[in-house]
Amino acid sequence: MSGLKVLNEGYEEKYGFNDPESFVFKTAKGLNGSIVSQISAVKNEPAWMRDFRLKALDIFGKKPMPTWGGDLSKIDFNKYTYFLNPSEKTAHSWDEVPADIKKTFDRLGIPAAEQKFLGGVGAQYESQTVYHKLREDLAKQGVIFTDTDTALKEHPELFKKFFGTVVPPGDNKFAALNTAVWSGGSFVYIPAGVKVKVPLQAYFRINAKNIGQFERTLIIADKDSEVHYIEGCTAPVYSTDSLHSAVVEVIALEGAKVRYTTIQNWSSNVYNLVTKRAFAYKNAVVEWVDGNLGSALTMKYPCVVLKGEGARADILSVAYAGANQHQDAGAKIIHLASNTTSRVISKSVSKSGGRSTYRGLVRIPSGVKNVVTSVRCDALLLDSKSRSDTYPSMKVEEPSATVAHEASVGRVGEEQLFYLTSRGLSKSEALSLIVLGFIAEFTKELPMEYSVELNKLISLEMEGAL
């Protein structure tokens, strides 16, 4: 454990605490048709959803483990608990949340953040959404922000129309797994013309050991609407691993604007395998702002499919890999309509033997005219033990496309450190400033509270780095 402590410096005191596991319902370890049916039954789901889950389980069983990306060989699907329900129901005021769970979110600062700057908050603990609240004025305008299980019951038409259309179960093995056992996540619907100016936020917390968390998020932004959705994730530091495999589907209809901000800060024993994809219709804008810290392995490639003319995609990501961590992250842009634009900026920082991989794809089929795309990936290595790889794939079949691609790998310069320390800064302080400067393009896109938090986390990581 002392080794683990070092890996998660700063993490443990802040997020690494765990509370005794308590639950009202929990499936047996392992995965099979009866467990999937049990999950569906305990949620009182309609038959179509149960069948959809079982079909996905079948696909999951048939698809081989991916052999690219990170090392997945240590994942044993039989050792996880796939569904753990810590409380009877979703509360709509923090007072109704069971005391021990509320204490956790208090420590993470969630209720305070809700009061300060958020339009709505969802909090998921293990498999269950334990709290959900939307500001009244937004609800009055017809905004729906609820957990995905509730949405299935209360908004069946919307749900059935869009669920699984952006990321079908057959997309990849982990999307199939998620579809089979999903629980919780956020469901957001913004009516046509409604512009939500304050962010909606969800917070996902894994507490128990050897658990799988499979939230499912579906965001539908109707014509000319606007929304900013934020999610944060943490887990305690255990010596055994947990699995987080989420699916996020975003639909931005004509003229809509969706920004999805994620700051994931997992402990270094979490496998984080996430499928995030958005459809952007005519003149819609989709922005993924994606920060990945921690985890044993993250494989995540936010994707935007530009389906309508004039649509725009922006994917901005930062990955930080410390000791024994592999961040295999990137971006995918598929241009299916003319006059669409996309921009990818990826920043990675590797330290103490950590490994960061950028894996990206931009596809412009022939006949799709006047596409403009730019991809930039910058990697910063803090020592010679660490590693960075870049696999940018540009599949451009159309001559009218304007394509720019840049990649850089740098080490923290001794001259920069000397310059800053000669002004009286300590080495770790100087290193923090350099690293934070390197990712500044990313942090400046975050709400203030998040950028402060991220800066603090990075500074903690830099202590004792030299």
């Binding site: 310059y419 000669s422 009286g424 800064l425 400033l433 390197f438």
Partner: protein, 241 residues
Amino acid sequence: MKLELIDLHVSFEGKRILSGVSLVISPGEVHALMGPNGSGKSTLSSVLAGHPSYKVEQGDILVDGKSILSLNASERAKLGLFLSFQNPIEVQGVSVSKLLFHALKSQDPKLSFVDFKKRVSDVASKLNVEFALERDINVGFSGGEKKRLEVLQLLLLKPKLAILDELDSGLDIDSLNLLASAVNDLRSSDFSALVITHYPRILGVLKPDFVHVLSQGKIVMSGSKELASEIEKHGYGALVK
């Protein structure tokens, strides 16, 4: 602060650059160090400020009688040493103002942001560098602007001993006069300076108490400020064999 270099031998990447430099700078004194290109002037400034790539092979550096060889750059700065860089380093994504805040905090951990702002804006307006405060350190600045920022840091950090490594290179006359007189204003019995330069012009303003000539890693000649005019008239060639 009293700075003593005792028979200092320094190498960089295995190559000997300084071969026995001895020099004493007492509180209140301004020393000029001149010398041809490649004589080791910038090595001397780097090694004094604690650059980790320069290796002291022999000799010692004392501050008020105590060796500082085991101190890193940050610790030396805290003692009151300051280096104005010949080629100030660019740092992407870090604003000048952020650097200044951290640097001043290292001297006074209780410094409030309001007091900081006030201190900085007074000095920055004197040097005409307000425009640079929120920009990334030295990124996209002209040579002259970079030198102004070095002097801004010097005036704010108020060191006991400043090493000015070619402060005058790349400056027009007006800027040179502005910066040199700003440094001149610091002169007191608590402030001393080592001014490294090729040109006597800056010395006309800074009026050094002593002038030294460095050649091939050694001080080959020392004198009063008249030595600088000799060098201007005759070049190093005539003085250094």
